[in-house]
């Protein structure tokens, strides 16, 4: 029965080489949901012939891990994706082989070794471009006055106590606010990660509920993922 100890599947090897990819999700690809993105990447790796390491359990599957989910509709070129391989590949080769098999809107920006733990993610920065039926200047002023309120309360669903009111005001860090010719640009730093995560959507919904005009379009880009001390997550 000694051979029972060896994994039946050749891909079940104990040595694994970990990589952290940084990818871009833009254009039409923005509408791929988080779950679908996982599947899309699995197929990309299959097509590219990347030797993925498989988890060992009843249902072995390729190890793919997104340290931070990107909300549907937000674009970004700073998204981390951790993978494990059963053999070592040069960073540039790994990047290029994957990119050759990517669908429109998805691209690997860089490949490297993971240096930090997922739990070190604490903040993310965003640029939001708003178009409303008011002038950009009016919109910018409205946003500033929205942020100057004493409290900004939003409803939060909890498993135990149903709907809760939470004050998000202390968590919103305004980096800049600019009225352009046709749109208003807002840059925010918000808490991100497992401990406490605040989406731009929640902030904008709160703004929309007090804003007197009508928001015609919102275009959000995630620009940075940072640690507690403000370092880039790498």
């Amino acid at each position: 029965m000694a051979d029972m100890l060896l994994p039946k599947n050749q891909a079940l090897r104990l040595t694994r080489y970990e990589y952290r990819l940084v990818f871009e999700k833009k254009g039409r690809a923005r509408y791929i949901s988080h779950l679908d993105l996982m599947r899309a990447f699995q197929r990309v790796f299959k097509r590219a012939g990347i030797p993925l390491w498989y988890t060992q359990g009843f249902n072995p599957h390729a190890y793919l891990m997104f340290p931070l989910a990107l909300p549907l509709g937000t674009d970004s070129s700073v998204e981390p994706l951790d993978i494990a391989l059963i053999e070592e590949l040069p960073f540039d080769e790994l990047r290029d082989r994957i990119n050759a098999c990517m669908p429109e809107g998805l691209r690997i920006v860089s490949a490297g070794k993971p240096e930090m733990k997922h739990t070190e993610i604490a903040f993310a920065e965003y640029v939001i471009r708003l178009v409303t039926d008011r002038s950009p200047k009016e919109t910018a002023e409205a946003f500033r006055s929205f942020l100057s309120a004493d409290r900004i309360e939003v409803e939060k669903r909890t498993k135990k106590r149903g709907i809760n009111l939470v004050d998000i005001k202390p968590h919103i860090d305004l980096l800049f606010l600019e009225a352009g010719e046709s749109e208003t640009s807002i840059s925010l730093r918000l808490p991100a990660g497992n401990e406490f995560n605040l989406n731009t959507g929640v902030v904008l919904d709160a703004f929309a509920s007090v804003f007197e005009g009508k928001i015609d379009s919102i275009y959000t880009t995630r620009t940075k993922i940072l640690t507690k001390t403000g370092e880039y997550f790498i």
Binding site: R28, Y31, A40, Q42, R47, P103, E104, G105, I218
Partner: protein
């Protein structure tokens, strides 16, 4: 159309599964518009999740896009939530590759896979900003064409289409597009173009035929009204099926669809001749691909898509003349690549131990059989040549291999059916359950589940049962109740169709041109996505029938005479009326007919069509 794209960007975040409405999937073909001469919008009249699983669309999409100056794009029916957003924001129906409105295309083609998608065709034309009636679309383009199995009786929707394509599309689609490419610079009228198109074999232009009716409401005659229109239009067949076009690339969706895997077509047509089965007759003759072709297509598509599952598609995969060799060859490749090989459409009687082992090696989950009827006598009536012994033998084999679920498909309301036959369904299911318990504990799986699906029989054109009355909804309801009363074991689960859905399907399947008005009225009242239980509104359909003064029993529950002119009598699917009449008579005598492999029974298909067993 930057405008549509910009509008979409805001709306997509307000809808379910937005990836369905924006395109950009791997394998989707985007061309430079300035270098394209003919644009084709390939419409599947149901939602993305269903349409993207459809093999015919993958084939024709690849085929047309292989021509450098033709561009074929995909279009699906939006879900109701997104459809409302499109209408509120004045977004016309657009194609997924270019995001251009399809009303500006040269062709709009619908594949008609089931009758309950008819109202979706009207909805999609309307969403595109086009009049739904062909007579109201006076410009040359877009030319609205239809293909697929429902085209064997397209009469109920004839008023909405410019032309139909009968049979297999691999050659005739390109012939039609070439004709258009040639005529386009001459700026012909629509009538001029359609007259030329009518000369192409397999193309049916409904406006060129006058239909007259008898006093009793049956069709009296169908007469061509222009010289270009042939007396009878014959379906197209690809005789050299092994060398037929097959795509080397699939569009790989982001969001999960019904059949999310590589599909390779292994054979076309069926040797069996089950008397209820339309597919078994209209796709004749039986042709197959060689093992080399199938293996090559499998490998190419697995590599291109990155899918981890491949499925073999056909009406009856085990009828491939070299099935064991084929499965051996394929599983050598799929095992090595960690790819699942799935084999739907296996017939019980040809399943050897070797095949059962092959499938079991991949997944030991479920086994599906379609005995269709509960007793041997009724199986002889429908010419489903399976014996109870064969079912029991295979189930015994499967249970010993550890299989735990068995699905059994049956039909209620078949011609010559008695209560004894219905009780037979329950008895057969019970025997399968008993068989599990007879299997030694060390061999069998943990538990057993026998699922019995009892659908309602719907008589279809070009089958020996095209003459038969469909059981009334009341009768079906009684039969369903009777079946339930006869089920004793908790291990047996029963499911059946809504009777109203089957009634509508039956009416539309054998309807004539006068039903166009009913379909239009039902659609105007809000009927769309009829094949979805949550959207099906029989009350609105009933109103439409009443307002149009249509006697539904005339279409559904009436026995047709052997010499009656059918609404589809001018369409030639190469199955002779004499053969169908003969088969119908044999059915009533419970006499079976041998399958094509055992010997020719003279259905009418010519040997030039390339059938393996013909001539």
């Amino acid at each position: 159309m930057i405008e549509i794209k910009e509008k979409l960007e805001q709306l997509l975040l307000k809808t379910q599964k937005p990836a369905r409405y924006i395109g950009g999937e791997l394998g989707s073909v985007v061309k430079d518009k300035s270098k394209v001469d003919v644009r084709f919008a390939f419409c599947f009249p149901d939602i993305y999740d269903v349409g993207m699983s459809h093999l015919g669309m993958k084939i024709l999409y690849g085929l047309k896009n292989a021509v450098p100056n033709y561009w074929c794009e995909r279009v699906f029916m939006p879900e109701k939530d997104f459809e409302a957003l499109m209408r509120e924001n004045d977004i016309p129906l657009y194609a997924l590759e270019s995001l251009d409105p399809i009303r500006d295309f040269d062709f709009i083609g619908f594949t008609l896979q089931y009758e309950l998608s008819f109202t979706n065709v009207l909805e999609m034309l309307d969403l595109a900003g086009l009049p739904v009636y062909a007579k109201d679309r006076k410009e040359l383009t877009p030319i609205v064409v239809g293909g697929g199995p429902c085209v064997c009786n397209p009469e109920p929707i004839a008023d909405f289409f410019d032309l139909f394509i009968l049979g297999e599309g691999e050659e005739v689609n390109l012939e039609l597009m070439r004709l258009y490419e040639k005529m386009k610079p001459l700026s012909p009228t629509k009538e001029e173009f359609l007259r030329e198109a009518a000369k192409i074999e397999g193309i049916y232009v409904p406006r060129f035929y006058d239909v007259d009716y008898n006093d009793d409401g049956t069709v009296k005659s169908i007469t061509p009204n222009v010289p270009e229109a042939k007396e009878r239009i014959t379906k197209r067949v690809i005789p050299d099926f092994d060398h037929a076009y097959y795509p080397d690339s699939f569009v790989v969706p982001f969001t999960q669809i019904v059949h999310d895997r590589v599909v390779v077509e292994v054979l076309r047509g069926c040797i069996r001749g089950c008397r209820f089965c339309q597919a078994g007759f209209i796709y004749r003759p039986f042709r197959e691909k060689s093992i080399g072709t199938i293996a090559g297509e499998t490998r190419t598509l697995c590599e291109q898509t990155g899918y981890e599952e491949v499925s073999l598609s056909s009406l009856s995969t085990s009828d491939h003349t070299k099935i064991t060799e084929l499965l051996t060859s394929l599983s050598d490749y799929t095992d090595k690549e960690n790819i699942n090989l799935s084999l739907p459409s296996l017939r019980i009687d040809t399943m050897s131990k070797e095949i059962v082992d092959r499938i079991a090696a991949v997944r030991k989950s479920g086994l599906t059989f379609a005995p269709e009827a509960g007793t041997q006598r009724l199986r002889d009536v429908i010419n489903k040549n399976i014996t109870e012994d064969e079912i029991i033998r295979t189930c015994r084999l499967a249970f010993a291999e550890g299989y735990q679920t068995v699905k059994l498909y049956f039909m209620l309301g078949l011609p010559e059916e008695t209560d004894e036959d219905i009780a037979g369904i329950a008895e057969l299911a019970q025997k399968v359950v008993d068989l599990y318990y007879e299997t030694p504990k060390e061999q069998r799986g943990k538990s057993v589940q026998v699922s019995v699906s009892a659908s309602t029989f719907v008589p279809k054109p070009f089958t020996p049962f095209e003459f038969e009355p469909q059981a009334t909804p009341e009768e079906i309801k009684r039969k369903q109740g009777f079946l339930l009363d006869n089920i004793k074991s908790k291990k047996i689960r029963i499911s059946y169709h809504q009777q109203r859905v089957s009634v509508l399907e039956g009416i539309l399947a054998r309807g004539d041109r006068r039903l166009s008005k009913v379909i239009y009225t039902a659609w105007s009242k809000g009927c769309t996505l009829d094949s979805w239980d949550e959207h099906f509104r029989f009350d609105l359909w009933q109103e439409a029938f009443d307002e149009c003064g249509t006697d539904t029993a005339f279409y559904a529950n009436r026995r047709r005479g052997y010499d009656e002119v059918m609404p589809w009598s001018h369409l030639d699917y190469m199955i002779s009326r004499r053969f169908l009449v003969n088969e119908n008579k044999k059915a009533h005598e419970a006499k079976t007919t041998r399958n094509c492999a055992e010997g020719c029974s003279g259905c009418g298909i010519k040997k030039e069509c390339g059938g393996v067993y013909c001539g």
